[in-house]
Subunit: 331 residues, 3 copies
């Protein structure tokens, strides 16, 4: 268990300390149930009452409160909370070298000590960096390079020919480097086009449960550093996704499309193939993108529009079917 003073926590998050900095904190808790060795947090005004009567040793908030607890004041509570929560609940990391007896590891695999390989994992002729945790039932193909401090949850699969950076997280059932969906037509039928490219997941990429990133046709499919892809997403062959982009669940990007940096897609967005989406594009849930989006901005809908405009369209469409009844009432 991690234990740390309130003063050290204030330092960690660059916050201003109010009250006793020497108190020792061992974890997070709800302000209403917390004991003196816990830190709670106040995100909005409706928790002020809890702060006033809490037994917690410390409170994290954006403004000074009336509370018996020591206080850490920050401008961004969410960010400070994330950092403190990571301190007490760090991402899993291999600290001693362990390969479960039931794991099947290719003799030519290069495992940089320490790594932790779980039960029934199957490790091909690949390289895995120190600190990486490979959980139960994970399968990693040949000719794959995996960085340090990665975490692969149970039953994730990495086909051969993938390159993963440091601190990549794959959730359960995620699939990396499955064949791209490429066929050539012969008469009325389809001939499979071998998919020879791999996948590159740069540092700090996280893929959600059952998300699939297909291998490229010749070159790699690529996801930029620190991008986060939620559950049940699909990144098709030859896509290039920029750094710091996030996609919520169910987003599907068709083949050879490029997505910029710092984009934010809500759930179930679909983007056609061979398009270019610029940096800092935000897309609303269920948006269908059939053409390039060169400029940053907030877009939505089908037809794709600026969000503000699409919301106006939705109101107009509602009006189209509501008006008749209003008219009838007027008669």
């Amino acid at each position: 268990m991690t234990d740390v003073t309130v003063a050290a926590l204030a330092d960690l998050v660059g916050g201003r300390l109010v009250g006793d900095g020497a108190r020792v904190i061992v974890g997070l808790a709800d302000l209403r149930t917390a004991g003196p060795d816990r830190i709670g947090f106040v995100r909005n005004v409706r928790y002020h009452a809890s702060a006033a009567t809490t037994l917690a040793g410390a409170v994290l908030s954006s403004a000074e409160l009336s509370t018996p607890a020591s206080q850490i004041l920050v401008t961004d509570v969410d960010l400070a909370y994330a950092k403190i929560a990571q301190l007490f609940h760090p991402t899993p990391r291999a600290r001693s070298h362990s390969i479960h007896a039931s794991a099947v590891v290719d003799p030519a695999a290069e495992l940089e000590s320490p790594v932790a390989i779980g039960p029934h994992a199957v490790i091909g002729r690949c390289r895995i960096g120190a600190g990486t945790v490979v959980m139960a039932g994970v399968s990693i193909g040949d000719d794959t390079t995996i960085g340090r401090d990665c975490v692969f949850y149970p039953n994730a699969v990495v086909y051969g020919g993938a390159t993963l950076g440091d601190r990549v997280i794959l959730h359960a059932g995620a699939v990396v480097a499955s064949d791209g969906f490429g066929y050539a037509r012969e008469a009325t039928s389809w001939i499979k086009v071998p998919q020879l490219g791999g996948v590159v997941l740069e540092d700090d990429v996280e893929l959600g449960a059952a998300t699939a990133v297909d291998r490229g046709t010749l070159g790699p499919t690529r996801i930029g550093a620190r991008s986060k892809i939620d559950n049940l997403c699909h990144i098709a062959h030859n896509c290039v996704i920029g750094a710091d982009t996030v996609m919520a669940a169910g987003c599907m990007i068709a083949g050879s499309t490029t997505v910029g940096e710092r984009c934010v897609f809500a759930g179930q967005v679909g983007i056609s193939g061979h398009l270019a989406i610029g940096d800092e594009v935000r897309l609303g849930g269920g948006t269908v993108v059939l053409k390039d989006i060169p400029n940053r901005g907030e877009y939505m809908g089908h037809p794709l529009m600026e969000k503000r405009q699409f919301l106006r369209l939705l109101r107009k469409l509602r009006g189209m079917v509501e008006r008749p009844e209003a008219g009838a009432e007027g008669v």
Copy 2:
């Protein structure tokens, strides 16, 4: 093999017996191919001819037919069929205690006899109730509690910290308690917010293949008793889904949204985060929900409307592009 008289089947489903109740039935069959030890069923009038000439020992229907078979008459054929089918094809259940030699079971796991643990399953420091069947390649994390008579199909994954009731069914590749998609922004990048809550699946919940239910941020994500979630659905962190709700494939519910009881969602519905959907809300396929739905009813579309109204909108939209040509013809 189960064998049972027609009279006992009529009792089971609360039906009225017509003809010989002593015939012994051992299973279901199509009326056209059934032998005298089988029961067939008639759901609609186009099967009446089959009933007249069937060799089946019994027929289940909602109205008396001209048939040589014994008859069981019920008001709801579908429900009676389900009960009879369950009798002959019960959900798998552990009847003797068996742990496959290749399974890896934490010595601290508490398994209430009888449970059946399949090949290559990995069982953490958890509790599993009697009757539960854990099939091949399933992974169950630490600090998880699983009820009685559950069935986990191959390669389903339950992360640590989940609580599952009795008779929960997880289909292949379903994922329970994967990390919620939570990040705090730092400059232009994203910092992972550790997801500390678990998941609660109440009694009789069923999750389809490759469906993911994320763990909560602090408290649990919860799915109410008897709710059924089809394949490839996503229930985000902190959602609370009421009892007796069904969602067809591809539904995605964003974070912290609550859904009421007895809702019915068709496929590919998307619901934004932090919304409240009431009881008995029915949503059509592909509906995008961006605001609360407090009242029961049947809704559809994007913009979301009452179904009747949205279908009217669809007709109007069709008219918008069909009319010009009609006009041209008129000229």
Copy 3:
């Protein structure tokens, strides 16, 4: 490694040879980096410059080029490329009989030599044809028949009662014959209807990562020969999909719907249950289908229309919210 003359490659693809046919080729490469034992290809005019200066031994293209390489001229470069790529990168196939020591194979399983069964695979009382490769962590249920030369990638799952033809490919996490989503209503609750039908995947079907095909209620769910289903698709119980049909990622077909032959669906298409879609129907991304489509053609949208018409509707809808501002400018 495969080595073959340019003349033999020209024969393979039915192309016209220009230049030296005796050169030996061992693989594919990008024209800009290829050595003399490689073949490159030119799909469009912007690669003509690369052809002029390439060191490649051969070039595949649709028109005679200025190049030092031997040339193979074909009418369909994509198709010829696919065939040449398959020669150098064939689909995996078992050439010697091997069952990994950690695999669990039912003694009653009938494995036609040679098959390759990977680590931690679990094989029920089934039949598997020669040439089939079953990779790590795959689970195959009882009473299943699998043809020759199939490839099942890691952690794919086939429930019992399925019938797969020859050369079927299942990508990682694909699920075949999971229970259909069938419940009968009892009061306000739901009773599971046992799903007794199986699944038939005919010859040369390919299922993407995390795609699920549910078993039928009484008869089988069926996917026709040579049909290709991308990642994260859902084919519900009792569907019948025709031959040579392709569906991109995220398509979801509800129960008992039939889809014809040679259809092409873009991503995230949703089709309601109990519908009939004819042959050679093409559907745009995100299309929601609520009624039968009897005639071949290209359709799109919600409301569903002919593509040309729907694109016109999209323009009109854009106009509805753009015009007012234009008007304001005009004032």
